[in-house]
């Protein structure tokens, strides 16, 4: 148990003694792989996520290419192979790409934001990283050798499938440990004066996200372990065979999928005030909104495999509708900040990317609401029908309409409409992670990244996500199932699938633009503009902008004392660097 290896320090002076940090690695290629430095660990999380992400997006392209021709299976060898790639794409998009990217950003930036020299349990963080990476590789390989959690329609569970279950459990376990490290760091390592009420919003959003992941992902592990034990038995499989993916599908569906996009709100609340050079208005409301968003995104209860009625429960329905509210609260807070500033924002790639992430999340929230529209509206129409009957009006069409809603939307909920919602939500999370990468590039990479390429990447990815998701949403109403490669031929569905395929190509191109921006930033470096302080190029409000770019081991030269959520704007803030810099 690496988490037990932490020796409580007697004081922060012992924690921050410079000789401690002489032992920390400075180069990822030499001793970085055994590093306990949170910045190295965070960078490796991000690097691994990008590599897995490239693979995931290629899988997405192949899946969408296959669906262009709904009459037959052409790209893959058979329908099962298509489902294997479909489910692999869905699983890896969440657990090998988007969530690890956010964890990487958080592991790097959360200690800096709260003025801490390190993570709470650096070795546990490193253990989580390597467990995730090894398990992720095994998981992909197991899927490739005829494994994967797919619905085969038979009760035979081969060994690669069992390997898929165990390796996915390993991936999930490592994310749980990473979440524990982040949450513990936020609770215990904050600077003096930094209460939970005035932590930076990104850190707050990671606290909420980490908490929800800690509560929900162990339930996913329980699903996987039950399936695995069942599969180890002889012949009879109560938890497998024909519905393997169905058992864990709640983790990739509404509302749980929104738990992977919680940091979108935190990042928006982080970059907008900086762009307007003002404190965020109604900071408390923004914090409550993020907490509320996290609470309603807890989805471990909505397991339709065990409880088919879960998707019509009041919690599920109201949760889907209420998802929009916290997003709007945050948009309102940003708008009030902009109004108070009475001037235009300082334009940057991260601002544009954060805005795009919010657009993607809002769109996903709208689709989520459409999915539950029947559960919300059908009872109302039924009630109106009863009322009209009671007062003697013969409005039978109201009852017919309610019945039509129930029937048709039940089918839509299981169609590719769900895929559209998932795609948009995860793309929002990814855009937020990329916005974070551009915003904190001086701290993460030591260089600013080119704004133009960032905006192009964001527009390409958002455009691609919308172009691939909207046709999926429409074809969902035309009865296209989410999983099936070959379906009764419909010309319009095929056209929509073609558009969707083009969208997935754009998303891939967008990620390519991000990588190009990173390459340009690292190779050519930051432009030598004397007006821009490389340590704080955006005029940030939070503690990470006090350190050098990239930060030295130990992050801060001394303990910091803060009194508000934007300490660098406080008149009474004692900047430990100001005196020496003179």
């Amino acid at each position: 148990m690496t988490i037990t290896e932490y020796e409580p320090a007697e004081s922060v002076h012992e924690l921050m003694a410079p000789e401690v940090y002489q032992r920390l690695p400075k180069n990822i290629l030499t001793d970085g792989f055994s590093s306990g430095d949170h910045k190295v660990i965070g960078r490796v999380w991000m690097l691994g996520a990008v590599l897995f992400g490239l693979f995931t997006l290629v899988a997405d392209i192949l899946v969408r290419l296959e669906r262009i021709d709904t009459d037959s299976v052409a790209i893959f060898s058979n329908a099962f192979a298509y489902e294997q790639w479909f489910t692999l794409q869905r699983v890896s998009l969440v657990f090998l790409f988007v969530v690890p990217m956010l964890i990487g950003i958080a592991m790097t930036m959360v200690p800096l934001q709260i003025g801490a020299p390190s993570l709470a349990f650096p070795r546990a963080a490193a253990a989580a990283l390597w467990t995730w990476m090894v398990s992720g590789v095994i998981m992909v390989v197991s899927w490739a050798i005829d494994g994967g959690l797919i619905d085969r329609g038979v009760d035979v569970i081969n060994q690669p499938t069992q390997l898929s279950m165990v390796s996915l459990a390993g991936v999930v376990l490592s994310i749980i440990v990473a979440a524990m490290v982040i949450v513990t760091t936020i609770f215990t390592e904050r600077s003096q004066g930094m209460s939970l009420y005035n932590v930076p919003l990104f850190t707050w959003s990671m606290l909420v996200a980490g908490g929800i992941w800690l509560l929900s992902l162990p339930v996913l592990m329980a699903n996987l372990i039950v399936m695995w034990v069942d599969a180890r038995g002889d012949a009879f499989h109560s938890f497998g065979g024909d519905e393997l993916f169905h058992q864990i599908s709640w983790a990739f569906d509404q509302p749980q999928v929104f738990a992977y996009a919680i940091p979108v709100l935190g990042l928006m609340g982080e970059v907008v005030p900086v762009a307007f050079r003002r404190r965020l208005k109604t900071y408390d409301a923004a914090m409550i909104a993020i907490g509320f968003f996290g609470a309603i995104s807890f989805g471990a209860y909505a397991q339709t495999f065990f409880n088919p009625g879960a998707s019509t429960s009041w919690l599920y329905v109201l949760g889907a509708v209420a998802l929009i509210l916290p997003i709007l609260v945050l948009v309102g807070a940003c708008a009030m900040t902009a109004k108070a500033a009475a001037r235009g924002p300082q334009f940057s790639a991260h601002l544009a990317l954060a805005g795009m992430a919010l657009v993607a999340l809002l769109t996903a929230g709208a689709v989520a609401t459409i999915r539950v529209a029947d559960s919300l509206l059908a009872p109302i129409f039924s009630w109106l029908h009863d009322v009209t009957e009671f007062i003697g009006l013969n409005w039978g069409w109201l009852g017919d309409f309610a019945d039509w809603m129930r029937d048709s939307f039940d089918e839509v909920a299981e169609s590719s409409l769900s895929g559209a919602m998932v795609q948009l939500t995860l793309m929002a999370g990814l855009l937020a992670a990329i916005a974070g990468l551009f915003y904190w590039a001086p701290k993460i990479l030591g260089e600013r990244l080119p704004t133009g390429l960032g905006v192009v990447a964001g527009l390409t990815m958002l455009g691609g996500a919308v172009i691939s998701a909207v046709p999926d949403a429409i074809s969902g109403f035309l009865d296209q199932p989410a999983f099936v490669a070959a379906a009764p031929q419909r010309d319009l569905v095929e056209v929509l699938n073609l558009i969707s395929f083009v969208g997935s190509l754009l998303v891939f191109a967008g990620l390519g633009a991000v990588l190009a921006a990173v390459a340009v930033g690292l190779v050519f470096g930051t432009t030598d503009d004397e007006d821009i302080d490389d340590n704080d190029p955006w005029g940030g409000h939070t503690l990470e902008w006090l350190t050098s770019s990239p930060p030295e081991p130990g992050n801060f030269a001394g303990p910091l004392v803060v009194t508000s959520e934007a300490p660098l704007l406080d008149d009474d803030f004692e900047n430990p660097y100001a005196e020496v810099a003179q």
Partner: protein, 222 residues
């Protein structure tokens, strides 16, 4: 910061000398981390309990429908299985209960730097843990539950998953105790490791509490 950081650090971070006294590290980092992982473990078991309850209810509903139709049914727990409140089950329960007391003895002794009693309490707690594992393995041999295609019920898969997961939790607890013991053996003042012992205790108590639910769910209500 590169050229300024070391100058600031020494002597005693003069640049912040006007600020209030340095950061007082928030205590109980290890306990909080352990509590969070323990909470995650509880959610894992909550997931298992939920699957058990819903699967059993589905089975019983189906059984009722089949019985009303006059068709042959299979019970949730197969007739050949022995999921009863036998002596090993009770000893399993009482061993864990006693280990909770000795675990508190560990924390008490560490807090008072009583090395001798601390180590004795650790060894006793570990012995109870090992005894429980022995009881569980014995119980598995007595259950007569097999994951097969004959019984037509998911009870075997679920009971083995739940009890097996609990055994793994006990093993993790024993590893924690081992680390606590190593720290105690290597230290002249074991009271500095009270935080560590208390963290192990948090995990141990959660493990015991979960067994109580398992006992109710599997051996009482079945």
């Amino acid at each position: 910061m590169t050229d300024t950081s070391l100058a600031v650090i020494d002597p005693s971070m003069q640049a912040v000398s006007n600020a209030p006294a340095g950061i007082v590290p928030r205590k109980r980092t290890l306990q909080l981390g352990t509590a969070l992982m323990t909470g995650a473990s509880i959610m894992y078991f909550a997931g298992l309990f939920g699957i058990y309850a819903s699967t059993r209810n589905s089975h019983l509903r189906l059984q009722q429908v089949l019985e009303e139709a006059g068709e042959r049914t299979t019970p949730w727990i197969p007739d050949s299985a022995q999921v009863e409140l036998t002596a090993p089950t009770i000893i399993w329960w009482t061993s864990l209960l006693m280990s909770v007391v000795t675990m508190q003895w560990v924390v008490y002794s560490f807090k008072r730097n009583d090395r001798r009693h601390g180590l004795l309490a650790l060894a006793t707690t570990a012995m109870f843990g090992a005894a429980v594992i022995n009881q569980v393995v014995f119980q598995w041999n007595q259950l007569g539950l097999v994951i097969d295609d004959v019984s037509g019920t998911a009870a075997a898969s679920l009971i083995y998953t739940i009890t097996g997961s609990h055994v793994i939790m006990i093993c993790v607890g024993l590893v924690l105790l081992l680390f606590v013991a190593i720290r105690a053996l290597a230290s002249s003042d074991i009271s500095v490791h009270t935080d560590f012992a208390a963290s192990a205790a948090v995990f141990w108590y959660a493990m015991f509490s979960l067994y109580f639910v398992i006992w109710l769910l599997i051996f009482i209500t079945k």
